[in-house]
């Protein structure tokens, strides 16, 4: 496939161009870098692909998602050329039919793509996985996630109130990208669970709610501490107000902070055991659900068993954040034809060449 449609805009200067992009609804509300033809061309070079290569149709607009349009979004977001392969991989992930992007953009639920990067790309992009990794201050994290969002706006056509129907949304809809802190993780990296080698780079993208802090007070003198941790994590997903409890069956994510991961590993827990135990504990009480206003369809009966997850592998576990009291649960939507699945895509490196004007 090749791209066929382009619109070239003109403006008196950079400031006027930014204002024009705002007026056209092409931004996320924040100022953007003006995607001049020269800047876009350099970003295209950094992807390593031809400008007119089409990655797919992005919903709900079913816009033709070509490399030059993705590069345009990356420029607007403030990406460096080094970030381009990661942006392309993230776009490929959300274009995968299992991701249900069209439905995700259109839902009234507050859901946004969480991008987790593994492998060497974390280093050559400068992606951060430690303290405040989902907060401000880290250019690669901020701009790669933002570039993905700008493709969803300008190619996918997701605009609030007409095609992106999230009733309130959450700040992660601006950007939500981080690296797994592999250096401080005692567990296998997330992408290796999908068959990638540790020295390969990959993005894993999952539609999620905003992160929910899970407070864990580690007590090394308590022989039951690890089991208590599992119950706390499970509670974050089995809260009857969360879709994971009310609808059930989707995938969700848990970012273990390095202290929590280290404590579990030093007590003999593998990541698979952590995941299995949390999934086993994440069962919503039918009584509590029935007493709430959160169930859809038939009222839950007391004898119903309502596990939040269908399979242990539906809970993605990775290590990120600073060490301390809090890990983070990412509840999810649990809807759409594929029930809110994660998609992992390799970051293809070695495709690009040296970019003129960029050291």
């Amino acid at each position: 496939m090749s791209a066929t449609t382009h619109t070239h805009l003109t403006a008196a200067d950079e400031a006027a161009a930014v204002e024009q992009l705002h007026e056209l609804g092409c931004t996320d509300g924040l100022p953007v870098i003006v995607p001049t033809p020269e800047r876009v061309e350099r970003m295209v070079l950094a992807t390593g692909y031809d400008a007119d290569l089409v990655l797919g149709a992005m919903g709900p607009n079913l816009g033709e998602c070509s490399i030059d349009k993705v590069a345009t979004a990356a420029v607007m977001a403030g990406c460096l050329p080094d970030h381009a392969p990661v942006v392309v991989a993230a776009v490929r992930a959300v274009l995968d039919e299992r991701f249900d992007l069209t439905e995700m953009q259109a839902t009234t639920h507050a859901i946004a793509p969480l991008v987790v990067v593994n492998g060497p790309a974390r280093d050559w992009c400068g992606l951060h996985g430690g303290f405040g990794a989902l907060g401000p201050g880290f250019r690669a994290n901020a701009t790669i996630g933002r570039a993905l969002r700008l493709t969803m706006i300008n190619i996918g056509g997701g605009r609030a109130g007409t095609s992106d129907m999230a009733l309130l949304g959450h700040p992660g809809k601006f950007t939500m990208c981080l690296a797994e802190d592999e250096a401080n993780s005692p567990f296998d990296a997330l992408h290796t669970e999908c068959g990638f080698d540790p020295d390969q780079s990959a993005v894993t993208v999952l539609g999620v709610d905003s992160p929910q802090s899970v407070m864990i007070n580690i007590d090394a003198d308590d022989p039951d501490c690890a089991d208590r941790m599992m119950r706390s994590f499970a509670a974050a997903f089995s809260n009857v107000a969360a879709n994971n409890a009310a609808l059930r069956g989707g995938q969700a994510a848990l970012a273990l902070n390095p202290d929590h991961a280290s404590f579990l590993a030093s007590n003999g827990w593998t990541k698979a055991q952590v995941r299995d135990q949390i999934v086993a504990e994440a069962v919503v009480s039918a009584d509590r659900l029935a007493e709430s206003a959160s169930y859809l369809g038939r009222k839950p009966q007391p004898d119903w068993s309502l596990p939040c997850f269908e399979r242990p592998e539906d809970l993605l576990v990775f290590v990120a954040g600073g060490g301390g009291l809090y890990s983070a649960a990412f509840p999810s939507w649990c809807a759409g034809p594929h029930r809110n699945q994660a998609v992992t895509v390799e970051i293809e490196v070695g495709q690009s060449c040296e970019i003129p004007g960029f050291a």
Partner: protein, 60 residues
Amino acid sequence: MALVTTEFWAQGDFIARSVGIPDIPRVELPHPVAGSGVENMALVAGQTVPAIVAALRGSS
């Protein structure tokens, strides 16, 4: 033929255009209908039937 509430009318237009059926017949309902009670739903249904019939006959 689609039933669309006022809050989602613009989205209906958008999706209809994006999937290439901009003229798909639609009937507008007040918002919200879901959860508004059987009595109100019956009232809405009664008020909407003529528009539904017209849309199905292609005369809307």
